[in-house]
Amino acid sequence: MSTTDDTSVSAPPRAAIEARTLRTDNWMRVPVLTVLGLTAWVAYATFRVFYQGNYWVADYHYLTPFYSPCFSVGCVPESAHFGRFLPDHPLLPYAALSLPFLLAFRLTCYYYRKAYYRSFWLSPPACAVPDGHAKYTGETRLPLIGQNLHRYFFYVALLITLVNTYDAILAFQSPAGFGFGLGNLVLLGNVALLWCYTFGCHSCRHVMGGKLRHFSKHPVRYRLWTIASVLNNRHMMWAWITLGSLMLTDFYVMAVSAGWISDLRFIN
């Protein structure tokens, strides 16, 4: 025929199939759930970030990740591990230096891109279901070409995850000195999950070793790449779990801080 002995990329007619899609399964389920899930999370996060209260449990040094690192002069002094210099303004979140990067990190994350391109942008809503748009240029021009900056945000997110880890370690506190309660488990668990998400990032995988041509010449990086790859395999799962764990951790700290519940203490 046809495969190589014809040289033009021509546009002869495709099969005239009337139905836009013939999928009979419930392909709308996933995009709908994604929209609901992401919207709910964004609503909660927005509320919390501008709430500017109940982010710190003074007795046990629990700091919610939504306020870390706390840079505003409005921060409780003990909660600001790295100094306070941002003006205290209701429209300026206390962690205003880290949050935009975290947001950008997740916005440019390859998984979230897939999720919102499909569910919010319908491009495409599901496989073999028509794109919701007449024109399409993907990530070839502004603004979407900016998705390539994911690497920057990854580096910053790495630092922030270190800060979160530091926060979680500092939180082994009680008025009596060392202390250990359920809140510590929540904070540690959250940090561990954040590492799973962050270390499984595609940019991380690339930096660790993915860009190499010869793994055999770089055994250590090969190991790191392998670890990143294992985590990366479940990147979508970590992306959702960490949304949940962030929210849960924040809520736990808020609830203890507000006195709705009291922390379950194991030691002191």
């Binding site: 025929m1 046809s2 495969t3 190589t4 002995d5 040289t7």
Partner: protein
């Protein structure tokens, strides 16, 4: 280089290659590198020829895993596998050149599995004394065909860079079928065919034509082969005046799937047995112990205990009878089913689930696990598989000159499964892929050389018109539908020319095949010319019929049992027949058969074997011509 004439597209080239499997593509590379203009034609899409299905590997004595391996050992194994009926010169060239052909593939971009030193890894296979099969997991055929496909593309890119055209010197016309060769005075002139997509005709003038069309398996209902395997090349050669040899030798692989019906025949790799799988009947009996022939008693265990010890200690125990040569195992399964101890679907059980733990099975046999899971809903780590023999490969084929691959017709060459002689009466696993490369290259080289010195060729109008009329005949046929006729043909072959043959049944087969002739001649195709599979099949039927007749005739003539030819009424090998090839030609539309001596091996090759071994196959006069040198004890086996 193309002009259109009376709706027939006219093309010319130096070398026309019919078939885009391993053999055809390797020939194309070589002919193009020799500076000739090349056209490759294939019935299926580029890169989808039958070679894609090969799993196990390609045999080449590179000695990467065991450094004692060399071409002499490979040669010896090949001759044993073929029961000494092989064309010794082909086997010799094959063993000598296979390593270079494999290494070449790496320069084209192939990525074989590696040894710790970074060389090409080689695996063990039935009948090969040392680990010898270069492989990529269990998808070696895919690697081979994709590599060659990409090499062709890279040559086209070079041409485009030099001349601005991708296709001036090397052109692939896929989804086109050749239906006729033009020959005048024993010299090839060109070929005629149709494009499957439009049904329009092609006439290609070429001084050299390479046939690389593969096998004939579609003449059997239960087969591991695809629809392409209708014996087109065999039939084209016959009609062009060339001859076929050894057409009675067809390899039935003992383990094909039998259930569900739609997958009947699909291959279950021999590695299942190599890795510990056993065959049992419906009484739960491991029956292969009852089927060890006298000549193999020395090498095969007679108790399950000893057989089981072999897997871990092969030096002090004899091998399990499940690993007997393929023909033996296929016959045993056949006998069990006939005796009423088969499954309701006509197979026996192949059980690895009760013998190895699930993790081992999924690691060693990933594609078998997948295949059974997806296609049969059988979890082979928990349940036995149902298996039975399936038509797999034809050892016979077009008679060629070993060095040049030229057939009896000047300018007509043949390589790959379509050619005969190399594998004798039975092919070893892995020897086909290497055969494609070795003789594909030779075919390309000699076809190019021939084209360079050949006189210009011409195809006259009348020949084209005749070919066109012939091709359109099914549209005016008033007979049966091609699918029914194919089923009828398959039924005759399966019933009467299968694994176990008898003179009376073969005679009956010839009568029945003869009766099919007028029906096939009168086949009716419905619909139009554009992509019409019914019409395509209608045209293939004649080729299938010719090959079936050739096989039945030769099978009737050879009253002995050897390799892929088992005569219940003539069991055992006969040294007199070892010296005889059966050669078939077409005269006035009838297949004619004659005997032809097998060329005698020269002393230096004969001396690679021990006299005691030669004595099992040859008459004393044959092997006493030389003092036999040292050679390891014979151990025979076949494979996929």
């Amino acid at each position: 280089m193309s002009e259109t004439d009376n709706d027939v597209e006219r093309l010319t080239c130096d070398v026309l290659i019919i078939g885009a499997g391993g053999a055809g593509l390797r020939a194309a590379v070589e002919a193009r590198l020799a500076g000739r203009s090349v056209i490759v034609i294939s019935k299926s899409l580029f890169g989808k020829a039958h070679t894609v299905m090969a799993e196990g590997g390609a045999a080449a004595a590179m000695g990467n895993v065991n450094s004692r391996d060399n071409w002499q050992v490979h040669f010896r194994d090949t001759m044993r596998g073929g029961k000494f009926l092989n064309d010794y010169r082909m086997a010799e060239l094959h063993a000598k050149e296979a390593p270079d052909r494999i290494w070449e593939l790496e320069t084209y971009g192939a990525l074989f599995d590696r040894t710790p030193e970074g060389k090409i890894s080689q695996r063990n296979f039935g009948g090969h004394e040392y680990p010898r099969l270069a492989h990529v997991g269990d998808r070696t055929g895919l690697e081979l065909i994709r590599t060659l496909q990409q090499k062709l593309v890279s040559l086209q890119q070079d041409d485009a860079a030099a001349t601005g055209s991708f296709e001036d010197r090397l052109r692939v016309i896929d989804e086109a079928t050749i239906t006729d060769l033009f020959v005048s005075d024993g010299v090839v002139q060109g070929a005629f065919g149709y494009r499957r997509d439009t049904g329009s005709f092609l006439a290609i003038a070429a001084p050299s034509i390479v046939l690389a069309t593969g096998g004939i398996g579609r003449s059997f209902k239960v087969t591991s082969n695809s629809w392409e395997y209708t014996g087109d090349g065999h039939a084209l050669a016959l009609k062009a005046g060339a001859s076929l040899i050894n057409m009675e030798f067809i390899q039935f692989h003992p383990t094909g799937m039998v259930w569900p019906p739609s997958v009947r025949g699909i291959l279950v790799t021999e590695s299942v047995r190599g890795d510990g799988g056993v065959l049992t009947n419906t009484d739960g009996k491991r029956f292969m112990f009852d089927y060890i022939p006298e000549v193999f008693k020395a090498q095969y265990a007679d108790t399950p205990e000893e057989a089981d010890r072999w897997y871990t200690d092969p030096d002090h125990n004899r091998r399990p009878p499940e690993l007997l040569p393929r023909d033996e195992v296929a016959r045993a399964i056949n006998a069990e089913v006939k005796a009423g101890r088969g499954t309701e679907h006509g197979g026996v059980y192949l059980d690895i689930a009760s013998r190895r733990d699930p993790a081992y099975i999924t690691k060693q046999l990933p594609s078998m696990y997948h295949q059974f899971k997806e296609l049969a809903d059988v979890d082979i780590t928990a349940e036995p598989m149902e298996v039975g023999p399936t038509c797999h490969y034809i050892m016979g084929g077009i008679e060629v000159d070993a060095d040049t691959t030229e057939t009896g017709v000047t300018g007509l060459f043949a390589a790959g499964e379509v050619s005969g002689g190399m594998h004798g009466s039975n092919r070893l696993g892995g020897n086909s892929l290497s055969d494609l490369l070795v003789f594909g290259k030779r075919a390309g080289e000699h076809a190019a050389a021939h084209a360079e010195r050949a006189e210009t060729v011409a195809i006259d109008k009348e020949s084209i018109e005749r070919a066109a009329t012939n091709a359109l005949r099914p549209f005016t046929g008033e007979g049966e539908n091609p699918y029914e006729l194919q089923a009828a043909l398959q039924e005759v072959n399966g019933r009467l020319v299968g694994i176990i043959r008898r003179a009376s049944e073969l005679e009956e087969a010839l009568v029945e095949l003869d009766a099919l002739r007028p029906r096939i001649a009168n086949v009716a195709a419905a619909g139009g010319r554009a992509y019409n599979p019914g019409w395509h099949l209608a045209l293939d039927l004649e080729n299938m019929l010719l090959c079936s007749i050739a096989t039945a005739k030769a099978a009737l003539e050879r009253d002995e049992s050897r390799g892929g030819h088992t005569r219940e009424d003539a069991p055992g090998m006969d040294p007199q027949w070892r010296k005889t090839n059966l050669v078939e030609t077409l005269e006035d539309g009838e297949v004619r058969l004659r005997r032809k001596p097998v060329p005698a091996m020269p002393p230096e090759l004969l001396s690679l074997f021990e006299t005691t071994e030669l004595a099992k196959y040859m008459t004393p006069e044959e092997y006493r011509t030389t003092a036999a040198a040292e050679g390891p004890e014979a151990e025979q086996e076949d494979a996929e």
